[in-house]
Subunit: 146 residues, 2 copies
DNA sequence: ATCCAAGTGAGAATGATTCTCACGTAAGCC
DNA sequence: GGCTTACGTGAGAATCATTCTCACTTGGAT
């Protein structure tokens, strides 16, 4: 089973120059197929469906960390104590909206420019901030009714 | 050693009608004395300094949860994997700025009104959001130099 | 083909938080 | 003041996501 060019490109992109092992290839391919946000557990399970020998938890954790470093995945929140990740290679500072029903992820501009300026005016120097919005995506909102 | 009226009022406030045990009184008094954000560990240690028999970790965890329910404490972020709490009885929706050096906590108005409206306009229904800013309070910023 | 640093897997370790359960004691009632 | 009982306590075990250890494998440069 040869790997087509697009898949190969995605796998190389995911690890930004790191080694492409059998496990890493499969993990990147699986992550790219998942829609929206996913937990490490979910990803690991899906990987094991394809190859039971390549989905060790520790390996998936390490692969996700590598893909995060490479800018291929981003942590977009948490659900039930599990970290949520999603494919996000968007450049520039922004935040995420995570649908609590289906996990769909949308981007949001940073709403803090004014808040940070206001804080700076009070003498604070903001060095880091976190903004995460959870809710329902348009489809899930429609399904749930007004 | 009789408890003065103010201290007694604080302790009663902290648990909003729950039982006032020896441990709970001491934990509330200690939490009220701490400035800014603190971790459960720190609070438990300080409690044990005053009364080694009243600072069991589980008890402090439960007392903090009760004080959070009562609206006396609020979770204001996290530091090094430990949840950060601070005294905050301010009514109304708002967020917090936590000094990463000294733990001082400031309030911040919610900057998301427009962001939420923008999301709603796209069909999303935002149900929950988290905003936390970390940085340096005026004093720590001055001490660190420009 | 060789080499070796990077990656893997199984399981142990970590570490914050929560649970269990026998015991203690606030608070309401008489 | 005593009685009752549900709520709180403490010690330690349990949970559970994540990270680490270590012997083994392998990608990929030469
Ligand atoms: Zn959805
Ligand atoms: Zn931002
Ligand atoms: Zn400070
Ligand atoms: Zn807000």
């Amino acid at each position: 089973m040869r790997v087509d060019q697009e898949t190969d490109a995605i796998e190389r992109l995911a690890y930004a120059g790191g080694r492409l092992t059998r496990a890493r290839r499969l993990i990147a391919r699986t992550a790219a197929q998942l829609h929206g946000a996913f937990t490490i557990d979910t990803l690991a399970e899906r990987v094991r469906v394809t190859d039971a020998a390549s989905g060790a938890n520790a390996t998936v954790y390490r692969a996700v960390a590598a893909m995060e470093r490479a800018g291929f995945l981003t942590r977009v929140g948490e659900r039930g104590g599990h970290a949520l990740f999603a494919r996000c290679s968007t450049r520039g500072h922004h935040h995420h909206i995570v649908c609590e029903t289906c996990g769909r992820v949308a981007h949001a501009d940073c709403p803090l420019t004014q808040a940070i300026e206001a804080s700076n005016a009070q003498g604070f120097r903001i060095t880091r901030h976190e903004v995460t919005m959870y809710g329902l995506c348009p489809e899930c909102a429609a399904r749930t009714g007004s």
